[in-house]
Structures are given as C-alpha cells and as structure tokens.
C-alpha cells in the first residue's frame, strides 16, 4: 500500500499527498458541495472508489470496457486553428479541416465549431459566413455537428454594447437602473440568439450549443432559457445543448425568474431542471475549480454535484470538463493524469451520460 500519492493542486502544481490527507480532502470536498448545494454527500463507497481512482499508479486511467460515454464538443474541434486563450494551436488550417481532423483523427463522438470570437453578438454580424461554413462542413461530417457560441451578456453593456453597465451602476447604489439595464440587454441577447439559431437551422444545423451560459449572472441565464424555448418551438429539429459557466447562478439582478423559480443562486440540479423545462436536449453543469485546493478536494466536490444532477435530471447530463471546471486543473496545458481521473470519476461515480 502506498504511503503517499502523486496528485496535483487546482492550479496544476504536482504534489505528493499522504494517503490519509487525501481521504480527508475527499471528505471535505464532498461536504462542501453538499452544504452549498443542499444535496447529499457522496457515500462511503463513492469516496473509497474516488480515492482508488486517484491512487491508481498509472499516469492515465480510463473507464472499464462497456462504461464509455458520449464526449460532446463545445469548441474542442476548433482547437487546432484557434488562439492561445483556450489552448489553441493556431495551425494554419481552415475550420472545416480542423473539425474533420477532430472527427477522424481523434475519434470524437460529436464535433462543433463557432465564430473565433466565440459569442452570439459577433456571430450575428457574420451570420451569412457562419451559415455557409456550417452547411459545407455538415455535408462532410458524419458525427453530429454542433454550432457553439456563448451568450456572453457582458458584450451588451458599455463600452462593448449599447446598454449601461451594471458593474458601473451597482457600486453607486443605482440598483433599479442596474436591473433595468440587465433586462434590456438580456432581451437584445435573446433576440440575437434566436436569430442566429434560426438562420443556422435554415441550413440544416444539427445542434446548437449555448456555452458558458450564465456567465454574466441570472439575466444571462434567463435570456438563454427564453431563447432555447423559442428555438425549440420554431426549429424543433435542431438539438439544443445548454452548458453552464459556473456551479451557481450569480444574482447580478436578483429578481429574475423562469417558470416561477428564481434563477439567482441556482445550483446544477436546479439549473438542469430549468434547462429541461425550456426544452434543452442536453445539459452541461460546470463546477468551478478552486486553484488553492487539491484536485482531490475539487474532484470530490464536482462528483457530488454531478451525481445529484444526473439523478434528478430528466435529460442527459454532460458535465463541462475543460480547464478550471469539474476538477480539471486550471492551466492551459492540462495534465492528462488529472484529466483522465476526472473522466473516470464523473462517469463511474457521477454516472454522467457524457462529457
């Protein structure tokens, strides 16, 4: 039996952790999630299984045969040509080549691409180009091809957009004005998302991925839910995946509701219910990584949230597993020892329907 296990911190730093300390970290992680989300902790069996995954001696780990799941793509296929912010390699290749390489070379279950400035607002301005690229790419792909974009309500506030910025208003106590600004901006965002979605559906878009939903708080989340509901009504053949930006919805407005439920403060299981009610086909929770805590703590926390949302969700759950979420360390060149352990834990213990 090992006395200590090589693992990492949430920022990727490699450390050696005594066995007992790791078990304590796992327990603290699940307790933190349970307390914050008001959800059950992981069972003793779950924690033991999670420990064994982390303690496996191999650099990489994987699920046993038969336990594989679907890996959906929220921008990974464009990683070959995209810039450094997301870990892109900036290869001088087209979006289509990047997507096909991802499909054929990396055995992806789905592919996707989006505007290089990966938000709905810039995509709308170039929608003809996006439609044409989607059309020609989807003719060549065999796996499902999503179009991905971020709601990114922040782009609608000054200086990037026309609406007053709540970040400027709130510190001065101008609460009502800040709320009004968010409501107006969210309405514009909803219109833009529906416009982009409908135009893509016209050229046969198979799926649309709302990525990092809720990044600007409850108004951002609400705009997305409303857009999803409208798109599912108008273009029902286009699948919708809603991927979140964080484990709880920030109450930048505080008073916005969807189907009678306040969005501010929602944790993943509540977010999933809202997404399903809006008509989404797949939900992707995000659990933020604390870079000052160990991967063990972060992963236990993530698995706790994911397990509960999988149990309660009516639709498939595909946790977001990029850098900085669901236990994956926050660094651009993500260490595969941790990434594969996150995969295995979320699938075997969290029972995720995909990643």
């Amino acid at each position: 039996m090992q006395d200590a296990i090589f693992t990492r911190m949430g920022d990727g730093e490699r450390i050696s952790m005594p066995v007992q300390e790791m078990k304590e970290e796992l327990l603290e992680g699940t307790q933190d999630a349970a307390k914050k989300g008001r959800i059950p902790e992981l069972t003793e069996e779950d924690l033991q299984q999670l420990f064994e995954i982390l303690a496996e001696p191999g650099r990489i780990v994987s699920v046993p045969s038969g336990k594989e799941v679907v890996v959906t793509d929220d921008g990974c296929a464009k990683i070959f040509y995209s810039g450094p912010a997301d870990g892109g390699a900036a290869l001088p290749i087209s979006r289509q080549n990047s997507v096909l390489a991802y499909e054929r070379g990396f055995a992806a279950d789905t592919v996707s691409f989006g505007h290089e400035d990966y938000s709905f607002k810039p995509a709308k301005a170039l929608i003809d180009y996006e439609m044409q690229t989607y059309y020609t790419t989807s003719l060549a792909t065999t796996v499902p091809c999503f179009y991905g974009s971020q709601p990114n309500l922040g782009l609608y506030f000054r200086p990037d957009g026309p609406h007053p910025n709540p970040a400027d208003l709130l510190p001065h106590g101008r609460i009502d004005e800040a709320k009004a600004a968010q409501e107006e901006a969210a309405e514009q965002l909803r219109e833009d998302m529906v416009y982009v979605g409908q135009k893509l559906a016209e050229v046969g878009c198979e799926g649309i991925n709302f990525d990092t939903t809720g990044s600007a708080g409850d108004a951002d989340f609400h705009a997305t839910l409303m857009a999803v509901a409208e798109l599912k009504e108008k273009v029902p053949l286009m699948s919708v995946e809603v991927g979140m930006s964080g484990e709880f919805v920030l109450g930048m407005h505080g008073g916005i509701t969807f189907e009678g439920k306040r969005l501010a403060g929602m944790y993943p299981h509540e977010q999933a219910d809202a997404a399903a009610a809006a008509g989404a086909d797949i939900f992707g929770p995000a659990v933020n990584v604390n870079t000052s805590r160990s991967v063990a703590w972060n992963l236990a926390r993530a698995v706790t949230f994911v397990k509960h949302v999988v149990e309660s969700s009516k639709i498939p759950v595909h946790p977001n597993v990029g850098m900085g979420v669901c236990g994956v360390p926050m660094c651009v060149e993500t260490p595969i020892d941790c990434v594969t352990r996150v995969s295995k834990a979320l699938v075997l213990i969290g029972k995720a329907d995909g990643l």
Binding site: I60, V61, S62, V63, S65, G66, K67, E68, V69, V70, V71, I79, F80, D86, G87, G88, A89, Y102, E103, R104, F106, A107, A108, D109, T110, S138, L139, T142, V143, P144, G204, C205, E206, G207, V235, L237, M238, S239, D281, I282, K314, I315, P316, G322, M323, V332, E333, T334, P335, I336, V339, T340, V342, S343, K344, L346, A352, D353, G354, L355
Partner: protein, 108 residues
C-alpha cells in the same frame, strides 16, 4: 479549455465512445434527438444494429458493420459513404430526423 492533447483527447481516451470508429456518434444522436440517458441510448442503438451493447465500442465489430451499413468509417476508404450520405443512412437506421439530412434532401 485546455490544449488538444491535454483536454479533449485525454477525455476521449479515458471515457469516450469512439465516434465513427465505433458507435459513439450513433449514441450521441439518440441523446440529442430523443434526450435518451446513456444506458437507454446505448440499448437503442445496439438493438438497431443487431448487436450487444458491449460491442458498441468494439472496433473489430463496428468497422465492418459500419462499412456494410454505409454509415461512415473513420478511415478514408475510397467509395465508402461518408458525410451527408452516411447521415442519410444513419437517420433511416435510427429512425430519427436529422436537420442537415432534411435540408440536403430539400435541395435535391
């Protein structure tokens, strides 16, 4: 997001179904179009293919089956169905509607 090797490839290797190498795309279609959870989606696809669930990720079985059914393989085999043609057959096989297929047919 993380670089290609470190994030998506690592996840695919650790837990992915293998896309068109095997049957990952088919299972993904069932999640997207009918909101099936993973076990139900796998069962459905296995039944449609006439194989056991465990064979959904068996490259040996799936490569020849996909070739025979004309639903696309990962290698660039000349003459084999790929892209939109493969998706037409997938839609028929799985009894689902795929938006790009419907659009393609509307243009013909």
């Amino acid at each position: 997001m993380g670089d290609a090797f470190g994030m998506p490839i690592a996840h695919i290797m650790a837990a992915g179904m293998g896309g068109i190498r095997t049957a990952g795309d088919l299972v993904a279609w069932m999640q997207m179009t009918r909101r099936m959870k993973i076990a139900e989606a796998k069962r459905y696809v296995a039944d449609k293919l006439g194989i056991e669930v465990i064979d959904l990720i068996n490259e040996d079985v799936m490569y020849s089956l996909r070739g025979d059914l004309g639903i696309g393989v990962v290698t660039g085999d000349p003459g084999r169905a790929s892209g939109i043609i493969a998706k037409c057959k997938i839609a028929e096989l799985l009894e689902i509607e795929i938006n790009s297929v419907n659009y393609f047919k509307s243009l013909l």
